[in-house]
């Protein structure tokens, strides 16, 4: 019975494939159901640019274009998936009118499934449009410190530390403890086996870890009866969590053949931005002269970094050496800037005094066996599973991330609508009028 149903599902899915272009178009007219029109328009614009550039790239490869295509492909892929699902819905809807009862039923079931999928895809599409955090692809550091107040905060800091470690272990993310400092004279607090933590730093070594954990930054509040508390009174204390991008000295960040040609590397230098000066002999050149001037100077115009090279009698070798040196210097400068940015980030958004009790993002309530994320308003039970880094923690983390994204999407919609309004009323906006 189950098997037959599965087989039929498949054939229905086959039927619902978007082989029919007309279907595809008519289906996207009621697109607004899932995704705000403003966003859909932006996505379609991006996909059109993507396709144009990708075609150009096939004819004539160019790293700059390749980089742009790479940037646009995230949105384009998300749009394509959403469109495919959208057209399936169209075709399944048509099948609902089928005279065949069984076919109708199956189309009905399948439609429910696809509609659910459509919503996920629409969310993914909206999210793909939001500006990507510049550090999203980086590994990260999770820093944990007790909030102001007594021993209880320190013990709970240890609980939070373990929670993230166990979470990493469970989902298989490589991590390293950079620092684990226990308060002077701290002994284990009995039952929970917690130590009075001063400060801990976990380095999460996976690319994209910063994106995964950045929504964990903030004040984590605990409400429980400390194991040292004789009277059974519930205490409230807090632990601060910082999440920072980390800049490992790994091979991707090393100056080498691969990183030189990778537009995303800090060592990538756009040749258009480099002025080259050869100590060129005046005159006809070529066979006419046999001068030995081989010196070359490169200047990276945006930064003014310049390199000159005259070691070899071969201008070609000097030029290659000069390019290598220039890339390394620019890479070095960019790395320093990036680190400064990270420090600025730490000092502004997440500075010590800014994380206060008022910024509490989550509460762990022991007596009620409950964990609440105050931003996404998600409330879960099974606190032990949360504190062991189990799937329940995963759910909370996901909800916080979704909240971050939805905030970005809202900002984006506001921006798109403002733009659309300005376009509709060009008279009111002088800047927009010149085209």
């Amino acid at each position: 019975m189950l098997t037959t149903q599965w087989v039929c599902r498949r054939c229905i899915r086959e039927l619902a494939r978007p082989w029919n272009r007309q279907f595809l178009r008519s289906a996207s007219t009621d697109a607004t159901k899932n995704i705000p029109t403003a966003l859909l328009r932006r996505a379609q614009g991006i996909a059109a640019e993507h396709d144009k550039l990708a075609a150009a790239l096939e004819a004539d490869f160019d790293t700059k274009t390749a980089k742009r295509v790479g940037e646009l492909s995230r949105v384009t892929a998300a749009l394509r998936e959403w469109e495919a699902a959208q057209s399936s819905v169209g075709e399944l809807t048509a099948l609902l009118k089928s005279p065949d009862k069984e076919m109708q039923q199956m189309a009905h079931d399948e439609l429910a499934l696809t509609n659910g999928k459509l919503e996920t895809l629409a969310n993914a599409l909206s999210a793909s449009l939001t500006p990507r955090d510049p550090f999203a692809d980086m590994p990260c550091l999770i820093e944990i410190r007790p909030g102001p107040g007594g021993m209880e905060g320190r013990y709970f800091a240890d609980a939070i530390f373990r929670m993230y470690r166990q979470y990493c272990t469970r989902v298989g993310i490589p991590n390293k403890i950079l620092k684990y400092e226990v308060a002077e004279g701290g002994e284990s607090s009995g039952g929970a086996n917690e130590s009075p933590l001063q400060e801990a730093v976990i380095e999460v070594l996976e690319a994209g870890a910063y994106d995964k954990f950045r929504s964990e930054a903030g004040m984590h509040r605990v409400q429980r009866v400390p194991s040292t508390e004789k009277s059974g009174r519930t205490h409230t204390s807090a632990v601060a969590v910082w999440v920072l991008p980390s800049f490992p000295e790994n091979e991707n960040d090393m100056p080498n053949e691969t990183s030189f040609n990778d537009p995303n590397s800090i060592f990538y230098v756009n040749p258009q931005e480099v002025r080259e000066e050869k100590m060129r002999a005046s005159g006809a050149g070529g066979q006419h002269v046999n001068k030995t001037e081989s010196a070359i100077r490169l200047t990276h115009e945006p930064t003014g970094i310049s390199v000159s090279m005259q070691d070899s009698r071969s201008q070609h070798r000097n030029r290659e050496a000069a390019w290598t040196l220039l890339r390394s210097r620019i890479g070095q400068r960019r790395r320093e800037e990036r680190e400064e940015q990270a420090i600025a980030l730490r000092n502004s958004v997440l500075s010590k005094d800014k994380i206060t009790r008022a910024d509490k993002i989550r509460t762990y309530n022991y007596s009620q066996d409950r964990c609440t994320d105050h931003r996404s308003a998600l409330d879960v039970h099974n606190l032990p599973d949360v504190l062991e880094g189990g799937e329940t923690l995963g759910r909370i983390m996901d909800s916080a991330k979704e909240w971050l994204i939805s905030r970005d999407v809202e900002a984006l919609i506001a921006e798109e609508e403002a733009l659309a309004a300005a376009d509709a009323n060009p008279g009111k906006n002088g800047k927009k009028a010149k085209k």
Partner: protein, 356 residues
């Protein structure tokens, strides 16, 4: 040529008498300094005790460090440096004085009778290698007028073991030097011996092309003599005129057969090479030329012959360098329309490609 100011000579002399000696040949202090450095490095390399020679480490290193006039290692070196500087000062090209010129990863021996490889040639050959790289695996390349073998050997070194390259030159000394250069670079470990051959041949000889046409040829490259008699007298450097072989620079009027009426004497090699290309039907043709005008004349030749090339380009001296503001990036050619001009510098190369 303007004379070197006395004050500059005196300043150079104060730094080193060698420098003052080199100055007239090098024209400016910066290149004189560089040449002196290269001469010194060359001499030191020759005089360095062989790393495997059994000289006991205790043999007083201090003695070696303090050259006493007329005695020991140091004075031998100074004597050699000053001998080479004198040759250079007399106008001999540095490449003949040192006996070599680096060319990409290669080091090429240079000898009288064979043209010294030029940096412009190095630049376009490297650029060509980059263009060929995606499909180069088993390509067959013919280099006509191969001289030191620089272009053939560079393509072979940069493009991997499937490539077959044949170089041809009419000058026996060039063929011998090109073969020696192959061995030299094989020994240095920057080249594999297989896949490159050099033979004596005159491009204007009939039977040669027919023999070559027995197997398919994918790429035809040539840096033929391209200077006019007038250009030779007016535009060439003195040490080029006095020391390099005229036959490598100026097309000789003998033995070229009847020249087409509309072909300038300095363009005869291109007319012939286009005939060769018509027989061999390579996918890519690359000719070095003397300037933008000559490049345009060569492109015009292809249109007058009604040849169908899918891509026609002109490259400047540094084909992958950003052009200066005043450098046109396109030229109009009779019968072809707009022809892209790539890079920066003088017009240097005509590139023709037939797409599969």
């Amino acid at each position: 040529m303007p004379r070197i100011p006395r004050a500059l000579l005196r300043a150079a002399h104060r730094i080193s008498p060698h420098l003052a000696a080199l100055l007239p040949a090098c024209r400016d202090l910066a290149s004189a300094r560089n040449e002196l450095r290269w001469i010194r490095e060359h001499v030191l390399r020759l005089h360095r005790p062989h790393p495997l020679s059994a000289s006991p480490p205790s043999s007083s290193p201090r003695k070696k460090r303090t050259p006493k006039a007329g005695h020991g290692h140091g004075s031998t070196i100074e004597a050699a440096v000053s001998r080479l500087c004198r040759r250079r000062a007399a106008g001999t090209p540095l490449q003949y004085v040192l006996g070599s010129q680096p060319f990409g990863p290669l080091d090429l021996a240079c000898r009288r009778g064979v043209l010294i490889p030029r940096p412009e040639t190095e630049a376009w050959a490297a650029h060509l290698a980059a263009i060929m790289r995606p499909g180069a695996v088993a390509a067959r390349v013919v280099d006509v007028c191969s001289g030191t073998g620089c272009v053939a050997l560079l393509l072979r070194a940069l493009l991997g073991s499937g490539l077959r390259v044949m170089g041809f030159d009419v000058e026996p000394r060039a063929v011998a030097l090109a073969r020696a250069n192959r061995e030299r670079n094989v020994k240095m470990g920057v080249l594999l011996r297989e896949g490159v051959r050099f033979e004596r041949a005159d491009v204007f000889e009939r039977g040669w092309v027919e023999r070559l046409a027995e197997r398919p040829v994918d790429v035809l490259v040539s840096n033929p003599p391209y200077i006019s008699v007038r250009g030779f007298n007016r535009d060439t450097g003195r040490s080029v005129r006095n020391f390099e072989p005229r036959r490598a620079l100026v097309p000789s009027p003998d033995g070229v057969g009847e020249r087409p009426a509309d072909c300038a004497p300095e363009d005869v090699f291109y007319a012939r090479l286009l005939d060769v290309a018509a027989t061999l039907r390579p996918k890519i043709v690359v000719f070095e030329v003397g300037d933008l005008d000559q490049a345009v004349r060569v492109v015009e030749m292809t249109t007058r012959r009604r040849e169908r090339w899918d891509e026609v380009e002109i490259w400047r001296d540094w084909p992958d360098m950003r052009p200066d503001e005043e450098e046109a990036q396109v030229v109009q050619v009779e019968g072809r329309g707009d022809v892209p001009v790539r890079g920066s510098g003088h017009g240097r190369v005509v590139f023709l490609r037939r797409l599969p």
